[in-house]
Structures are given as structure tokens and as C-alpha cells.
Symmetry: C2
Amino acid sequence: MRFSRLYGIGVGPGDPELLTLKAYKALMEVDMIVAPRSREDKRSWALLTIEGVIKERESEPRVVEPVFPMTKDQAKLDFYWEKARKEVLEKGVGCETMAFVTLGDPSLYSTFYRFLEVFKDSVDEVEVIPGVTSFSACSSIAKVPIAEGNEIVSIVPDARTKNAPRVIGSSDSLIFLKPKNTVEIKNMLGNKKAVLGVKVGFKDQEMLTGKLSEIKEKTRYLATLIVKKEPQDYESESDFC
Amino acid sequence: MRFSRLYGIGVGPGDPELLTLKAYKALMEVDMIVAPRSREDKRSWALLTIEGVIKERESEPRVVEPVFPMTKDQAKLDFYWEKARKEVLEKGVGCETMAFVTLGDPSLYSTFYRFLEVFKDSVDEVEVIPGVTSFSACSSIAKVPIAEGNEIVSIVPDARTKNAPRVIGSSDSLIFLKPKNTVEIKNMLGNKKAVLGVKVGFKDQEMLTGKLSEIKEKTRYLATLIVKKEPQDYESESDFC
């Protein structure tokens, strides 16, 4: 079982209109679509984003929705990856091309490169198509730039890691993806201006802006938090470091 | 002179196929396009990116290419911004809608929000359309992810600013846009893996990968440098801080 081409496609933040022309064209003609989801009882967010494109097609593509659970349990991960591998190879019989779709962009925190590692010996060519990130979408909707001039921007997935406080203390703007550690983040940046987007790009998106300490906690899956410092914020910089 | 709508459009990194569907549709129907360029004798990179879209249109839009020089000289900036303001208002007579196009994404280091500040009283509605960044494009072409898991990514426009060394020392991946300070960056990160993209997305793009110290210096305008650390790189972390 061999595929002539594997696409790694960033479908953007959830709004189907934020697909790139390149992604749209690839999705209109690919033989099989692989869409990751985090749990057996959930749909794939990336697949939801491209549902309309799939409906536009004359011939339906095969669709596989393997589960990639968010866990550090290696035995569990190995089990699900092996299951996904078999599923893709079984469903892919007769397919020339396949696309792995990922929310946002494949370069940032996507499962795509792990998928590529698993399938690299089963494909002839690989093409990665970049996508719009959730933080760009969040900034666009709030109409607040993330950075200008010489400002440093840092993306911090987990505020409890060893280096996070130093990066948080020395950056001008911060992006927290799926912020789980809002208590820690609020302790460090509570008085700063913030924009919180939940399910940005999807129909039920929510945008909250204001001082970070005043923003009601949202711990749901698709959340992006942008925090901007002002020049005067650097007086207390040493608090963080 | 009043516009009903101003679009701030991120046209992506330079490849016209990386326009979003939303940006494409807006550009197909907008009355006037404002495309910034850095010098009188240069074309606008954003306009080059959308040339094909403009040619597809039945009616040509009005196009203004004001100069926004890259300078800190306030008198010079004021002169050019006033010139741009007049040009847009003069050429815009009879136009309902205008789009300001920006390479990459409006949220990161774009002139768009300064433009919005100048024109906010001359427009009824504002819509910002996010775009694919140069670093996402760079990562896609190199097929190297920027970050996975809990890795911290920082975007550093100028490695000589006060906080830059601390951020560089504590981040797992670094993105340098238009890297001017390659000597400083090489001193700090020379032995790390790097990807340098020049004019990524344009026809004459160049991609260089390898150890940062071995990559020949490129100081041209549209360069994006991604540097990735490996776990063992943290042994010498204290060198930076």
C-alpha cells in the first residue's frame, strides 16, 4: 500500500472562508482525507471546517477520523497510533493521494509531523500547505495587532514549564494556546490588556477583551489568549524573573 | 470623502495560491486597493502577490501604492503619511470600499493598524482578514515543524533589543523576521539547526537549511530565519542570560 502524495494541510482557525486557495484545490481533488480527533465521542474540528468543501465535490473522498488522544501515556499513544496506521492503510486501498488536515497551521503544535513520521515510507511525495493560525484570526476579529515595530512575541503552550516565566517576563506580547494554566498566567499578567478568543472562526465563537484579571475563565478546548504589555509594564519586569 | 468599508487584508507570504478564500473574494470586488511599498523606486510586494487576482477582475480596481519608508525619522514619516492620506482620499473619490493589503498577516508587524489609525474617521466599517505568515510558509517548504508539544516559540524582530538575549536563551524555537543582526544571532545560536527562507512564496524563493553558523549570510528584505534548539542545547543555557 503506497500513496503517490501526502498533503499536510492547515485548514486555518475554523472559518471555512479562511482556507487558502491551495488548500481548497487540494481538498477538492484528493482521494482520501485523514482528520484527527481527540476523543472517540468527538468530531474532528478540522473536518468540521472543511465539511462544506467536501459537499461541493462531485465524488466524495474517503474520510478517516482517527483518534489521537491528548495524553502523555506512551502505551495509550502507541495503541492509538497503531490503530490509526492500520485504519489509514485499510481505508486507503485504491487511493493515490491523501490529505492530513489540521486546524490552524501544520508548523505549530500540529499532529501532522508525527503522522508524516509514521507514514513517510508509504508515500512518494509530501506537500505541506500552511494555514492561518488561531492567534492571527483572534487578532483580526478583535482588531488589535499582536506586535508592531521591534516587539517580541512569544507563544507559550504551558505557563508552568521551567522557562515560561522568563519568556513571559521578557516578551512584549504573549500568546497562550489552549490556556490551561490561567491561574498562573493571571498571577503573572493579571493587570495587562488581553484578548481571549474561544472557538474563533467557528459559528459559536466568543471574544472577550479587557484586563486579564477581569476576564472570566474559559478552559474549553479551542481557546487562544493574547496578552499585550504596555511600555510602563516593564517597571515591574523583575517580578517575573 | 467617506468609505463604507475598509478591509485590512493579509495576502500571505507571496504565493498567490496562499491567499485565503475570504481575501480572494474581497479583492475581486473592492473598489480601491491600497498597497504599501518601502521606497519610491520599488514595487509593493503585497501588490505583486495579488496581481493575478486583479487581472481576473472584470472591472479594474483603482490602485494606490503609497510609500511608507522604513525609517525612525519622525519628520520623514509624517511627510509620507500625510502624502499617503491625501493620495488615498483623492484617488478614492467615488469609491465605496477599499482594501489595504499587507504581506503575511495584519496582526504581526504590519503597517495596517497605523493606516487604520489615520483613516478610522473616514470609514464606516472595518474588517480585518488574517493571512498566512512567512514563518508558516517557510516551515511548510522546509517540512520542519516550528514547535511541538509544550515548546515555546518566540518571534524576535531585532536581536539587539534589551530583552532579546533572555528570550532567545529561554525559548525552544526562534523566528527572526528580516534578520539584520545575523552576527549577534550567530553568536548566540550558531551551533543550532536553522532554516533560512528568502522571498518565500515568490517565484525566486531560496531555502537554506543546516547549522546556523554554516548558513551564508542573507540580509535581503524578505528573509525569515527559524532556529530550533534540541533538548541538549539547554546545558549551555546560562551563556545567554
